[in-house]
Symmetry: C2
Subunit: 195 residues, 2 copies
DNA sequence: CTGCTATAGTACAAAAAGTATCATTATTTG
DNA sequence: CAAATAATGATACTTTTTGTACTATAGCAG
């Protein structure tokens, strides 16, 4: 009885979220409104309101649309420096060459106000953290790093510094910086912290 | 001729920004409007528009009002662990016990869209970075750390991890974590990174 | 083809943003 | 103290935006 797969639904949804994402990048969260999407796409306001009765839902879906499917891969076959280099390159590329550097701060700010944004942010970050963590665990299994290495803290250092430099300081994330960053992390992983 | 110091100006400005700050904490950037401040304070809209002709200026001033005057002190008289502990305690306190954890993400997100917010953010962060950096430089002068220590990177690690944990992961910043964080930083500062 | 339903269009109501004018009131200055 | 001055509050108005309701059209499924 029901038309469960009308292609128009996916089409308008996709077109609307594409436009909303562009608006989010260019003008920020307050500009992501039904009317703005209407002006950008020609999709009528009534249709947009049917898809997203609340502005908040439109924004959350735009965030999800922006993050898209994950492109993370295991990369834990060693050696450690190579794996870490892969992970850091992946993160730096996302921050330098995708809209992520503009989208992420908006999600982070929304997460302080909104439960759903908080959950989305945790999913996105948790995935990356888990992958890097597995890299260290694998390296530990191969005896590349000391057995008592504080893996969780190493993971957080690995990821937090590029985010801080890019989002908060507006600093560059270049090849030279990446190399010395990895070297410092490895130095901590390979030598026991003295008591 | 001119009345250069009418106390009413400072009074309304202060009352309006107090209310705007509360609104910013509770409902985020989009809610910081002249009308919202009017409802919260009773200050007439016409007066508010005279003080801040553009909404953007109201928001920036609210940011500045939130950050307030700096409370950083030198704290570079050693030993290094004590100085770092002072700095980290100061930062963690700001993140745990003031509205800063809610305000900072809003400023960071605004900074990606707005030049003035970017400048304000750089000032706020630059001040803290400079203080921590001076701590390391002083420790180096006292021969507490190796001469080739990568001070700038140590400073960024010192600061970025607590921000990342609090703002992005929503994790706790407790006493135990602080101690091991400082220990890792010191380990890097006291031992030369092997080539 | 026929029925269903997503979309577009229109109209409308409510709220908010922004501007302008004027009376009132508090403060400065002489 | 008294007058000049400037800030505030109140009101009115225009424009824009938001949100809702209803209708006609057009595309898709069965």
């Amino acid at each position: 009885m029901k038309k469960i797969d009308d292609p128009r639904i996916a089409a308008t949804r996709s077109a609307a979220l594409d436009a909303a994402l562009g608006i989010l990048q260019d003008e920020g969260v307050p500009a992501v409104t039904h009317s703005a999407v209407n002006k950008a796409t020609g999709i009528s306001r009534s249709t947009l309101y049917r898809h997203w009765p609340e502005t908040k839902r439109l924004l959350i879906d735009t965030f999800k649309h922006a993050s898209g499917p994950s492109k993370l891969k295991p990369a834990a076959d060693g050696p450690l420096r190579a794996d870490l280099n892969w992970h850091l390159t992946h993160l730096v590329t996302a921050l330098n060459e995708t809209p992520w550097a503009k989208i992420a701060p908006q999600i982070i700010a929304s997460a302080t106000m909104d439960e759903e944004a908080q959950i989305l942010l945790n999913e996105l970050m948790g995935e990356r953290i888990a992958f890097v963590e597995n890299t260290f665990i694998a390296a530990q299994a191969r005896n590349e790093i000391v057995s008592g290495a504080p893996i969780r803290q190493l993971v957080e250092m690995m990821i937090s510094v590029p985010y801080f430099r890019k989002l908060i300081l507006g600093a560059t994330l270049d090849k030279g910086w990446m190399e010395s960053h990895i070297e410092m992390i490895c130095s901590l992983a390979e030598n026991p912290v003295p008591e």
